[in-house]
Symmetry: C2
Subunit: 191 residues, 2 copies
Amino acid sequence: MVLSRNQHKRERQQLLVQQLQENPFLTDEELAELLSASVPTVRLDRLELGISELRARTKDVAEQYYGQIRSLATGELIGDLLELEIGKRGISVLEVKKDMVFSKTQILRGHYLFAQANSLAVALINADVVLTGSAYMRYLTPVYLKDKVVANAQVTSQRGSNFMIRVDSRVGGVEVSRGRFTVVAKEMREL
Amino acid sequence: MVLSRNQHKRERQQLLVQQLQENPFLTDEELAELLSASVPTVRLDRLELGISELRARTKDVAEQYYGQIRSLATGELIGDLLELEIGKRGISVLEVKKDMVFSKTQILRGHYLFAQANSLAVALINADVVLTGSAYMRYLTPVYLKDKVVANAQVTSQRGSNFMIRVDSRVGGVEVSRGRFTVVAKEMREL
DNA sequence: CTATTAATATTACTTGGTAATAATTTAAGT
DNA sequence: ACTTAAATTATTACCAAGTAATATTAATAG
């Protein structure tokens, strides 16, 4: 039968996928070694499986990452910055619009509060790349459509490149959420 | 003076750094265009500034990212897994140890709860790469040294590759935190 | 007006590929 | 045992985005 040959191939391709899952940064040459096949075979397999080359894979991962940081960090600050003392404190305002609330309840979707606080926390830190290490939020009161959320962030402590930042958000003076973020600063050179 | 030449150079190099900060995925050619200088000049500048080539930069970012996912995902689940029905629900237990609490108050540092819940949420999803899109946690009761935190996660909804997962954590039957995570599943092929 | 530095050009080489084609195994079916 | 078709491997020409080294051409400070 033709099966056993196909099976051999399938097994190898499965192994290939598996290897890449464990370590997506393998070159075709390394893969060939691992699968004890030739480089062209690996390439054919990748082609059949629709797996792109190392550099494209790497690039996509990196872009996604960078995009993620940016969208939650410097690039797209959620809310409008009112005050900013880098390394110390900052204030931003977020106006709740209709696409941000649950249509039934008119309550602001939680992650907007999270994002506002988080992006403000990150904005306080002046570094090439800023990561949120951990975040803990406490939602106190629901926020509604047309509310204006004022987020107040303050660096509470710093150990090396790790910053602890507290962010409390208020609507008309009433505290609606309180959050604490651990933010890690990285310089481009370190990357 | 030699200054004006040096100054010209310095300005260009500053601009280079700035450009890379905005978009680290620029080739030397693109940089040359942006700085209206030649490619060799850009290379010399990079050399002087100790900035590595595009592909190395990309790779490092990607590796860091991948490492991060892994450490917060499959790799290092915070807490011990008790039950797991992939795509549906799971339970993990975290024993609070001395290095996890604030020494003054003996209260568990919030990000452990966050990490336990988050990593459990991620563990429910069976994909090559799982990202936490957004997370909102509500801390209800402080958790103390030697407590055993039981986190209970449940997939509440799924839209495409976006999963909503609810995680509630209890200590001796008392709810200590409640969290909701939006988790995004990505297959290797898509990367 | 020349010595010096900056800037640019040029060349040979490297990695990790794509794409296409040709040659060679290998196991299957008869 | 022999053929045949798929699977595998080899080979070749090419590309992008570099490194590294050297040569050449401004530009300008003294």
